[in-house]
């Protein structure tokens, strides 16, 4: 973005991106509000417009957005989610996006959800990072507030489902640099970013009842099979799924 007086996102971001992200190894992946159960066939779930971002990671670590991959992945993921919907044990509908002032209200809550999900990942899923108020065992207490109930597009819904994925495939240069650094210096250059999360919010109370987040996800979302694998991983631990399907192939690695 080019500003008249200042560029708010400067060229510096490209340099900053060369650093490493949070260590993904010590991460918990799923949180459930204690005592929350979702009986199959009892709820109407609205799926918000998924946030999907796909591109390449340059040698220096800069994200290079790719419009074709993103469009392809959006299609693939939408199909995979639609196929999964029958297996979630409850009816899932796509949100009908409102217009005008209603759209503004909905946009604010989508931004709020993204902030809360980030907070859960940083301050709850990493045990060493946990806030003092989140340290009690088995606790999962996060909410968006009761305002969710009056949001347009969610009338008559019991739950709202949020899905976000981001994929940065390592470019050839990045992979070569990775191998070279490992062989020559024994230094690890992380290649590629594949992260995603899915969350379920109780529309009546605004409480976050389930969140599944993974900073190292499998499945190449640019392909049909990969998108199915990704969606399977995204919905791991989804409450109220029929027991048989909970044992569906849970992907490990990529």
């Amino acid at each position: 973005m080019r500003g008249f007086l200042r560029n708010t996102i400067g060229v510096l971001s490209s340099v900053a991106l060369m650093g490493a992200a949070l260590p993904a190894s010590a991460q918990e992946k799923t949180g459930n509000k204690p005592g929350f159960t979702l009986a199959p066939g009892s709820a109407r779930i609205v799926l918000m417009r998924p946030s999907i971002k796909v591109g390449e990671q340059s040698t220096g670590g800069l994200f290079e957005p790719n419009a074709d991959w993103t469009a392809q992945s959006r299609d693939n993921l939408n199909h995979a989610i639609a196929a999964m919907q029958g297996q979630l044990g409850n009816s899932v509908f796509d949100i009908v996006e409102p217009a005008g002032a209603d759209a503004a209200a909905l946009a604010e809550y989508q931004a709020l959800f993204a902030t809360i999900a980030d907070s859960v990942i940083v301050y709850q899923f990493f045990p060493g990072n946990r806030l003092p108020t989140k340290k009690r065992k088995g606790q999962f207490s996060w909410t968006m507030g009761s305002g969710v109930a009056s949001l347009p597009g969610l009338a008559g819904a019991d739950y709202a489902l949020f899905v976000t994925t981001e994929d940065q495939f390592g470019s050839t240069g990045r992979k070569v640099a990775q191998v070279f650094a490992a062989l020559a210096f024994g230094v690890s250059v992380p290649t590629g970013v594949h992260k995603g999360f899915a969350g379920l919010v109780d529309v009546k109370t605004g409480d976050l009842v389930w969140l599944n987040a993974d900073l190292q996800m499998g499945g190449d979302v640019r392909t049909d099979e990969g998108a199915q694998k990704r969606v399977t991983q995204l919905f791991e631990g989804f409450p109220g799924r029929p027991v048989v399907l909970a044992a569906a192939p849970a992907g490990a690695g990529k």
């Binding site: 973005m1 080019r2 500003g3 008249f4 007086l5 200042r6 560029n7 708010t8 400067g10 060229v11 510096l12 971001s13 490209s14 340099v15 991106l17 060369m18 971002k53 591109g55 340059s58 040698t59 220096g60 670590g61 800069l62 290079e64 957005p65 790719n66 419009a67 074709d68 993103t70 469009a71 759209a103 503004a104 909905l106 946009a107 604010e108 931004a111 240069g173 640099a177 070279f180 650094a181 020559a184 210096f185």
Partner: protein
């Protein structure tokens, strides 16, 4: 190979200092309904499209149809109807001096900018600069530059730590120098649009004189040294300094000899309904020096009731005993000149109460409650009157 050549070119292009008397660039050939080409550009546009979805639904965007149509009409008069059709403008309610451009044709104009420019020609200069970023596809070039620099540093860090430490600073510095060069290019192409428009080209430099003076006033009010009039840009500066921009804009505009009507009256008329809002935003910035300067500038043609009220609020909020006396006087003048808003009575009453004039103060507060019985703070004000 091509990339390596480009990386080598990076080193050569480092730290090119912009010259002052720049020739006015010719207007680029206009491409109607331009579509992005190539992986990088289409990726940039996709990200901008996502950002625009959020901008469209943002609570910060001012939706007033008249205001939007007006700002749009100024852009269209500046760059022409064809070019203007490729842009969507979002007026953001942000009390700072800025405007931004995205690669897909989304332009944002901040409300603080509308408070600071004083005629259509000055607004046109800013909008033309932003449009130049779009037409010259600066985001894409900046992205490629940044990627090239990152790749270069990645490899040099592995080849030789000595070379890396020698190159890192200059490579990163070259990115900012490149950004400054793009900003200068946008300034000059913006000036070319302005020259081709009905507005006078000389207006572009005038903005910067007042922006620097406002920065000086802000710094003085905060008892700091002003950095507004530096000539050389800092290492991390994304734009040339204000002095440099004012100088080359003025010198280039002088050469073009481009007279015209800056349309100050039309601008004031169109913005009049929004002045109380924008002034109230400015007062809340806790910037006494800058705000007082800005009000003085806005009052060049005389103090309107709105400006007097804003200045009264500014003094009352700083709250020294002498400020409260000035504030009470300013509220009085605003009311005498016909300010309709009963808030002036409230401000005057509070200022007088704290200036050891309880009876006139209570009288003003009573008048406030009479005219605005349902005010949010009615109970509190009534308590003050009863004391």
């Amino acid at each position: 190979m091509i990339r390596w050549l480009r990386l080598a070119g990076l080193l050569a292009a480092m730290m090119a200092t912009p010259s002052i008397a720049a020739p006015l660039p010719p207007l680029p050939t206009f491409t109607p309904a331009y579509e992005p080409t190539g992986v990088d550009e289409r990726g940039m546009w996709m990200e901008a499209d996502e950002a625009e979805r959020q901008m469209r639904d943002s609570a910060l965007v001012m939706r007033d149809p008249a205001l939007n149509a007006y700002v749009r009409s100024v852009l269209c008069r500046t760059v022409g109807d064809d070019r203007c059709r490729s842009v969507r403008i979002y007026i953001q309610h942000l009390p700072y001096f800025n405007a931004t451009m995205y690669p897909n044709g989304m332009m944002t104009v901040w409300s603080g900018l509308l408070l600071r420019v004083r005629d259509e020609a000055e607004l046109a200069a800013v909008l033309g600069h932003e449009f130049a970023h779009f037409e010259k596809r600066h985001t894409l070039d900046g992205f490629k530059r940044a990627r090239g620099a990152g790749d270069l540093l990645m490899w040099t860090s592995m080849v030789s730590p000595t070379v890396y430490s020698a190159m890192a600073v200059s490579t990163i510095g070259s990115l900012f120098a490149f950004s400054r060069a793009q900003e200068q290019e946008a300034d000059l192409l913006g000036l070319a649009y302005l020259t081709a428009s009905p507005y006078p080209a000389a207006s572009a430099a005038n903005i910067w004189d007042r922006i620097m003076a406002e920065e000086d006033a802000t710094a003085a009010g905060r008892k700091r040294k002003s950095t507004a009039r530096r000539y050389s840009a800092g290492f991390f500066a994304s734009h040339p300094t204000d002095v440099v921009r004012a100088t080359y804009l003025r010198e280039t505009a002088l050469k073009t000899n481009d007279p015209g009507d800056p349309a100050a009256v039309a601008f004031r008329t169109a913005l009049a309904p929004w002045m109380p809002t924008f002034l109230a935003d400015q007062i809340k910035l806790n910037d006494f020096g800058g705000s007082d300067y800005l009000l003085g500038q806005l009052a060049t043609d005389g103090w309107t009731p709105d400006l007097l009220y804003a200045r009264a609020e500014l003094y009352r909020l700083r709250g020294n005993p002498r400020d409260l006396m000035s504030a009470a006087q300013l509220y009085r003048e605003a009311i005498d000149k016909g300010l309709a808003d009963p808030e002036a009575e409230r401000g005057m009453g509070l200022a007088l109460l704290r200036s050891q004039q309880p009876e006139p103060g209570k009288a003003a507060l009573r008048r406030y409650l009479e005219r605005k019985p349902g005010a949010q703070d009615a109970t509190m004000i009534a308590t003050l009157i009863a004391q």
